[in-house]
C-alpha cells in the first residue's frame, strides 16, 4: 500500500500531504518516546504516535519513515505544520486510538 492509497481511504485528516505519496508503506511502527523511535523506527514505516511536536518531524525525516500518523486526536502546532509542509513530510491525523489505527493500516498492507 502506498502513502497515497492510505490517504485515499478517507479515514484520515491530511495535515501535510508530503512530497512522496507514491512511497510504499512497508511496516507499521508505534512509539511515543522519540529517543526510542529514533533507534527503532524502520525505514519506510507508517509511524503511529500521539507525540506531535517539531522533533517528531525531525525523527520521521531522519529515520526515513514513509509517513507520520497522529492518533488519539493529537495535532501539530502551527510552526510544526509549516515545517512538515516545507520538508515534504506526510502527516495524517485521526481521532482513533493508536492500536486501532496501527492495526487498521497493518491489515491493509
Amino acid at each position: 500500500m502506498t502513502v497515497k492509497d492510505l490517504m485515499d481511504t478517507g479515514k484520515f485528516q491530511v495535515v501535510s500531504p508530503g512530497d512522496d505519496t507514491e512511497r510504499v508503506i512497508e511496516k507499521v511502527f508505534c512509539c511515543d518516546l522519540l529517543s526510542v523511535a529514533m533507534g527503532r523506527a524502520p525505514s519506510g514505516c507508517a509511524w503511529v504516535t500521539v507525540m506531535g511536536n517539531m522533533n517528531t518531524l525531525a525523527v520521521a525525516s531522519l529515520t526515513d519513515a514513509a509517513c507520520v500518523i497522529l492518533a488519539e486526536g493529537a495535532a501539530l502546532d502551527e510552526v510544526a505544520e509549516k515545517k512538515a509542509a516545507q520538508q515534504g513530510i506526510t502527516v495524517l491525523a485521526t481521532e482513533e486510538p493508536i492500536f486501532e489505527t496501527a492495526m487498521g493500516i497493518y491489515q491493509s498492507l
Partner: protein, 140 residues
C-alpha cells in the same frame, strides 16, 4: 584525508525547534553524493542523537563531519558539564534529562546507546567541568 569533504555546524543551545537541522543537512548532502541509504540513515540517527544531547546537556557546540570514499567521521565537541560516569551514561535507560525534556519525548536514556548502535566506531573524550568531544565513524 586530503580528499575529505568537511562540513561544519554550530549547534545553538536550548533551541529544540532547530535541533536536527545540522543532521538533516548532512543527510541531504550525503544523499546527493550517492552514499547508500543505509549509511545515510546511520549517520543521520547517530548525529541527531548527538545534536540533541548537545542542546539538552551542554550549551550547544560544534559538529564537524568529514566525508571520504571510505568513511564518514563525525566529531561533536561541546564545552558543557562533561560526563562524570561514561559507563553509566552508556547504559540504556539511564538519563539525567530534566522533566521538560521528557515531556517532549526525549530523555529515555537511549541517546548514547543509539549512537553506539548506529556507528562502527565511537569514542567519548570527556572531562567534568570542561566539556565532551564525541568522535563517531560510519564505514562506507
Amino acid at each position: 584525508m586530503e580528499d575529505a569533504i568537511v562540513l561544519t555546524y554550530e549547534v545553538s543551545p536550548d533551541d529544540f525547534t532547530r535541533a536536527g537541522e545540522a543532521s538533516s543537512d548532512v543527510k541531504s548532502k550525503l544523499k546527493q553524493m550517492g552514499v547508500s541509504p543505509e549509511a545515510v540513515r546511520k549517520v543521520a540517527i547517530a548525529m541527531y542523537e548527538g545534536e540533541i544531547n548537545m542542546v539538552i546537556h551542554a550549551k550547544g557546540g560544534e559538529i564537524t563531519v568529514s566525508i571520504t570514499p571510505e568513511q564518514i567521521t563525525m566529531v561533536l565537541a561541546d564545552v558543557g558539564p562533561g560526563i562524570p560516569d561514561v559507563e553509566l551514561a552508556m547504559k540504556a535507560g539511564y538519563s539525567t534529562a530534566p522533566d521538560e525534556i521528557r515531556s517532549l519525548g526525549f530523555g529515555a536514556g537511549m541517546g548514547l546507546p543509539n549512537m553506539k548502535k548506529y556507528t562502527d566506531e565511537m569514542n567519548i573524550d570527556t572531562t567534568v567541568g570542561v566539556g565532551t568531544t564525541i568522535t563517531m565513524v560510519v564505514k562506507l
